[in-house]
């Protein structure tokens, strides 16, 4: 996903390197907490991509197991991304009812429910 997005921007990028400036802006303005979450997100994405490639290239035989594994990556990804959005100070105005502590509790609850189903689906 990000690769697809970055590719056209690279070709059309008239200024020196929008990518580099993006990275710089990100690196400077993001707090360590959010960076930790981002690292986790990248890890989940890579894990999901590997599973997907395995499914496409080698076999999808225990399809439910693949789905469970893939869904756990995707689900955990979006839950972590939600957590990231909720604890991001820039979004404070959007999430009036959700304090960072509550966001984490939501995240934990969602993950538990998700992994309950994942475990049930592994077969």
């Amino acid at each position: 996903m990000p690769a697809a997005k970055i590719a056209p921007s690279k070709t059309a990028g008239s200024s020196q390197s929008p990518l580099l400036s993006l990275w710089k802006a990100y690196y400077e303005s993001t707090s360590t907490r959010l960076k930790t979450i981002d690292a986790f997100l990248v890890f989940l994405m890579l894990s999901g991509i590997i599973q997907f490639l395995y499914c496409v290239l080698i076999t999808n035989f225990p399809f439910n197991a693949f789905l469970a594994g893939f869904a756990s990556c995707v689900g955990q990804f979006v839950l972590a991304a939600s957590l990231r959005a909720q604890v991001n100070p820039a979004n404070r105005s959007e999430f009036k009812d959700v304090s960072p502590e509550r966001a984490f509790a939501d995240f934990a609850l969602g993950s538990i429910v998700l992994h309950f189903f994942v475990y049930n689906f592994l077969g």
Partner: protein, 780 residues
């Protein structure tokens, strides 16, 4: 601020809040009571009995669950259904309903309350209707306020459109599904409003429950993505939307795949792809937003925007490619029949043959919703006034559900909640406007400027109010004008004034009084209508029929149970009963005998086989019956007492379904007279007269009338005096009012003759000129 009437001013705000919350609780409790009570007509008028067809299967499955435990239920292979194929029940049902009753049953027994499982099943739907009222209250509260919520709860509690599927004894999936539908929508709205993953997870959990309970879950699967997509297109993307949708979709989809009947469908069929597509789109949009937050270059943003579109197009192409390659199943026939109402009749007669799949007749909208149906558009328009995210949801829901309710009678059920919600919003806005004691200030400045216009307009409305309804509309328009833009623009245009908003409003007590009394009158008539419709139209178990004696007392017609119990007590346990599929579940549930086909209708060929046997002459039907080990044939015949839902009236569907599989042997036109009429009297076509169904229905019917003319009271036609004869079947049982007739299939003749000859011999027609006889004479 002038007031139309004085309000007590010595109350502390705390007292007011406390009292109002107490009143709300009491009101909700009363609404729940009313919702439950109005569904008990069926039990009071008849008895605590399971209704109709499908509930009998659910009841039977629940009994297995309660008696043998969950695992036995999960692995239950029912070899008595679809004889000789059998049916894997655990993998072909939505188990939510049975599991719910099973849990209630076990909880009650754990509390040492030995309640019969039948009573739990009978009373489950009324119980859940109270929960539906509560969840509708919560939903509407998010939309407007508590008073609208209470109105919506009261409406949904007694609206016949919902009662029709949830009276006591109507133990079907819809009984709990509407509660789940409303609660899922409520938690979705709540998740969207607060942006909390907790409510997103809750939405997913209730979505899972809904998937486990009803096939209509696809409605939610497409409503929520549609709402999310609309919000994105309206430029209302927010992190809250991302959190709510992603957490719902990621957990909910995985959860829905746990139901065996659904299986891999959420990733394999087109019906579920919209949700996946919107999920992908949201990820991209969210990522783009994130990047945008870090970079401010306009050019970069436009590039991002372009790449979003490119990715979207790629996604659609990938979807089309996957569909083409067969990875994703295309839309199913049931789905097409929602867009093209003629589709089912052409390609899947089995779906079209069900009366609740027919398009809705206009009067039934009024019958099911009464005055709500004309408040409904007003409520939807009021949603446009605020147009927060949740209002967008209600508007989409209203449009989609209205369409579906027009296509299929049974989808009236999904329309009813949104009608109640929208009508409650409209109604409570009306009451808010007219109960509010604040009068508009007629300021010194405004009056001279607006001059004759405003002062003329206001008294005019007050005077006109005497002629109630017209004036109410006008007054409502004026009232609206005081608060918002659109309406005030219109009114201003009419009045030719642009700056007189302050002078508009309601003056005095008389207008208020008239409108409020009128509104209460509408509510009162709604209650009367609902009670009447519920008691007269929707509370019949259809297993037990009621008629009136000449003296007005109720007479119970109990033919169905009489016949089913006859089967149960007089036939061997493994005797196979053939009947049209409508009665399969009832035979399995009440008579406990194997059936060829039942209401599950999963195997069209098998049903067509039964249809063929019913519509063929005896000689053709007999081998079919023997091959399927049929011992008894059961038909429903209403000709004697005028029960119109009988098999002769359904007969053409049997013919059509059989024709779909054997177009060479069964042709529908043969069953009509040359003039194209469907007749059963002397003029009936020979094919019709020779068909097994006709013969079984009218066998010995004329004898009942002595010498006088026999009349079929359903068709209103005269039956031939010499009725049909049967060679291959024996009449085994006919119920009191002839509604159920059961025939025994004869075994092959012991001497190897065909049964027709054997019958002729037994009847003493020995001198029939036939070749073997002549040869014997010659020999002699």
């Amino acid at each position: 601020m002038p007031l139309a009437y004085s309000l007590p001013s010595d109350l502390s705000p705390a007292t007011v809040t406390n009292t109002s919350s107490l009143l709300r609780i009491i009101a909700l409790a009363l609404i729940s009571g009313a919702a439950i009570a109005s569904r008990l007509f069926a039990v009071v008028n008849f008895e605590s009995i399971i209704h109709e067809f499908d509930p009998w299967f659910n009841y039977r499955a629940t009994k297995v669950l309660a008696e043998k435990g969950f695992y036995a239920f999960w692995n239950w292979f029912d070899h008595t259904a679809w004889y000789p194929l059998g049916r894997v029940v655990g993998g072909t049902i939505y188990p939510g309903l049975m599991a719910t009753s099973g849990v209630i049953y076990n909880v009650l027994h754990a509390l040492n309350l030995p309640v019969d499982i039948r009573n739990i099943c009978v009373l489950l739907a009324p119980g859940f209707s109270a929960l539906t009222a509560w969840s509708t209250y919560m939903f509407t509260k998010e939309l407007k306020d508590e008073s609208a919520g209470l109105l919506a709860a009261a409406f949904i509690g007694i609206a016949p459109g919902y009662i029709s599927r949830s009276v006591a004894g109507s133990y079907d999936n819809e009984a709990i599904a509407i509660f789940l539908l409303m609660f899922t929508f409520y938690s979705w709205i709540k998740a969207l409003k607060t942006g909390s993953a907790f409510f997103g997870t809750l939405t997913a959990l209730f979505y899972f429950y809904m998937v486990a309970a009803w096939g209509g879950y696809a409605f939610i699967t497409n409503m929520i993505p549609l709402h999310a997509l609309t919000l994105i297109l309206m430029g209302r993307f927010s992190s809250r939307l991302y959190v709510a949708y992603s957490s719902w979709y990621a957990i909910g989809t995985l959860a829905s795949m746990q139901v065996p009947f659904v299986g891999f469908q959420p990733v394999r069929t087109s019906e579920h792809m919209a949700a996946l597509g919107v999920f992908g789109l949201l990820q991209i949009v969210a990522f783009a937003e994130l990047v945008r937050a870090h970079v401010s270059s306009r050019q970069f943003q436009s590039i991002l925007f372009g790449s979003v579109i490119v990715i979207g197009v790629l996604g659609v192409l990938a979807f089309a490619g996957l569909t083409y390659k067969g990875w994703i199943a295309p839309w199913t026939g049931r789905f097409y029949s929602l867009w093209d109402t003629g589709y089912a009749k052409k390609y899947i007669p089995i779906i079209a043959s069900v009366s609740e799949h027919q398009p809705t007749a206009w009067p039934s909208f009024f019958m099911d919703l009464q005055f709500l149906i004309f408040l409904f558009p007003a409520g939807v328009i009021l949603c446009f006034r605020e147009l927060r995210d949740e209002h967008v949801f209600v508007i989409i829901y209203a449009v989609v559900a209205s369409y579906f309710a027009g296509v299929m009678v049974r989808l009236m059920l999904t329309l009813t909640p949104v009608v109640c919600v929208a009508a409650a919003v409209a109604f409570s806005s009306l009451l808010d406007t007219y109960i509010d004691p604040v009068e508009p200030e007629v300021s010194e400045v405004a009056v001279p400027v607006t001059g004759g216009d405003s002062s003329a307009a206001s008294p005019a409305t007050v005077d006109g109010a005497v002629s109630s309804k017209k004036a109410k509309k006008a007054a409502a328009a004026v009232a609206d004008a005081s608060s918002t833009g659109i309406a005030s623009g219109i009114v201003a245009a009419i009045g030719g004034q642009s700056k007189s908003p302050k002078a508009r409003g309601i003056f005095g007590l008389d207008t208020r009084f008239l409108i409020v009394v009128n509104a209460l009158g509408m509510l009162l008539f709604f209650v009367l209508h609902c009670t009447y419709v519920t008691s007269s139209a929707y509370s019949s178990p259809s297993v037990v029929l009621a008629s009136q004696n000449p003296d007005g007392s109720q007479h119970i017609i109990d033919d169905f149970r009489e016949a089913y119990y006859w089967l149960r007590q007089n036939t061997p346990q493994d005797a196979v009963v053939m009947s049209w599929w409508d009665y399969g579940y009832q035979i399995a549930g009440m008579a406990d005998r194997p059936t060829l086909v039942d209401n599950n209708t999963w195997n069209n060929t098998h049903i067509a086989t039964v249809g063929k046997a019913m519509s063929s002459p005896e000689e053709v039907a007999y081998p079919i019956l023997r091959k399927h080990d049929v011992d008894y044939v059961l038909i429903i015949f209403g000709g004697l007492i005028g029960y119109s839902g009988d098999d002769i009236n359904k007969f053409l569907w049997m013919v059509r379904i059989a024709q779909g599989v054997w177009p060479d042997e069964i042709q529908e036109p043969n069953y009509f007279t040359p003039k194209g009429e469907y007749r059963i009297d002397d003029a009936a076509s020979p094919t019709m007269k020779n068909s097994l169904m006709y013969k079984m229905s009218y066998y010995r019917f004329a004898e009942l009338f002595g010498g006088s003319q026999a009349v079929d009271r359903v068709r209103g036609q005269q039956v031939p005096k010499t009725g049909p004869t049967l060679d291959y079947l024996d009449e085994a049982f006919t119920s009191e009012n002839w509604i159920v007739r059961i025939y025994q299939v004869k075994k092959e003749d012991l001497l190897g003759r065909d049964l027709k000859t054997a019958n002729a011999f037994a009847n003493g027609k020995k001198r029939k000129k036939s070749k073997p006889l002549a040869r014997r004479k010659a020999l002699a």
